[in-house]
């Protein structure tokens, strides 16, 4: 996965948040983590990737941010089930959109979601993962790209 590939996912992240919650979203420069230690927040949605790459793409966000995203989209309900649904959908949309660049051999799973820390085997990371920081209002979330060729 090279810089251009990462840029595709950055562009997808910007597009998703600007379409869903408005122009105020900022996506920071991605950074590399090499310790296989997952970056997780309150809720995490994972898409398993197979085909041209193997691994996962996941989106992780704090409860307050998800509550706010639901609110600006007109939802009055903001329970754990709904927040888990949102992180899964964000991960799914960004990964699915990436197929425009990577092609149909960038195969994506249905989302797997969890709250809090990952259980054993739930998040299996490659040796190197890219973390794309996302800032919206006062909240901080991350899209993590952990793929091997």
């Amino acid at each position: 996965m090279d810089e251009n590939d990462i840029q595709i996912l950055i562009d997808g992240t910007v597009h998703y948040f600007r379409s869903t919650v408005g122009q105020s979203t900022e996506v920071g420069a991605p950074y590399l983590v090499e310790d296989r230690e997952p970056v997780v927040s309150d809720f995490t949605g994972i898409i398993a990737i197979s085909g041209v790459y193997t691994g996962c793409v996941y989106f992780t966000a704090p409860r307050a941010m998800l509550r706010h995203i639901l609110m600006v989209n007109g939802e009055t309900r903001a329970d754990a089930e709904f927040m888990a649904d949102v992180v899964g959908e964000v991960a799914n949309t960004i990964s699915g959109n990436a197929r425009r660049h990577f092609g149909s051999e960038f195969e994506i799973s249905v989302p797997e979601v969890f709250e809090g820390r990952a259980k054993d085997g739930q998040l299996q990371l490659a040796e190197r993962s890219f973390v794309i920081p996302i800032a919206w209002r006062q909240y901080r979330a991350s899209l993590v790209v952990s793929l091997i060729d």
């Binding site: 007109g74 949102v86 959908e89 699915g96």
Partner: protein, 125 residues
């Protein structure tokens, strides 16, 4: 006119339902996967369907094919994050009438559904 919204995400189902500004819609039905969608499709006979692709149990491509086999007059708008050309072509070959890529604006989904209602039958074999 009845519309069936098929998506495994409650967030998206609600977003589509809230966005709808289509004249003549009398009933909105929802389904969270392909299996539930087929049950509601046969029970309620919707004329219009929005269809996700990546779903558990029965995916949206298979669901589209089964719906068109059961009722060739149904109009199906695929609403999916899966953005590659091959998937869009496959969905149209299976009988979908249109393809809208997530994320979408409210006006985009209404425009796409209105095009279907007005008789855009592209892709239907």
């Amino acid at each position: 006119m009845k519309i069936l919204i098929v998506d495994d995400s409650m967030f998206i189902r609600n977003r589509i339902e809230r966005s709808l500004a289509i004249a003549g819609i009398t009933e909105v039905l929802t389904a969270r996967n392909g299996r539930e969608a087929m049950v509601k499709f046969h029970a309620h006979k919707p004329e219009l369907v929005t269809m996700d692709i990546t779903m558990p149990e029965v995916d949206g491509i298979e669901c589209t094919e089964r719906m068109v086999q059961a009722n060739a007059a149904v109009k199906i708008l695929v609403v999916s994050a899966v953005a590659d050309k091959a998937t869009a072509i496959l969905a149209l070959k299976k009988g979908a009438n249109g393809f809208l890529i997530k994320p979408f604006e409210e006006t985009e989904i209404n425009d796409a559904l209105n095009r279907l209602i007005q008789g855009n039958r592209r892709g239907r074999k």
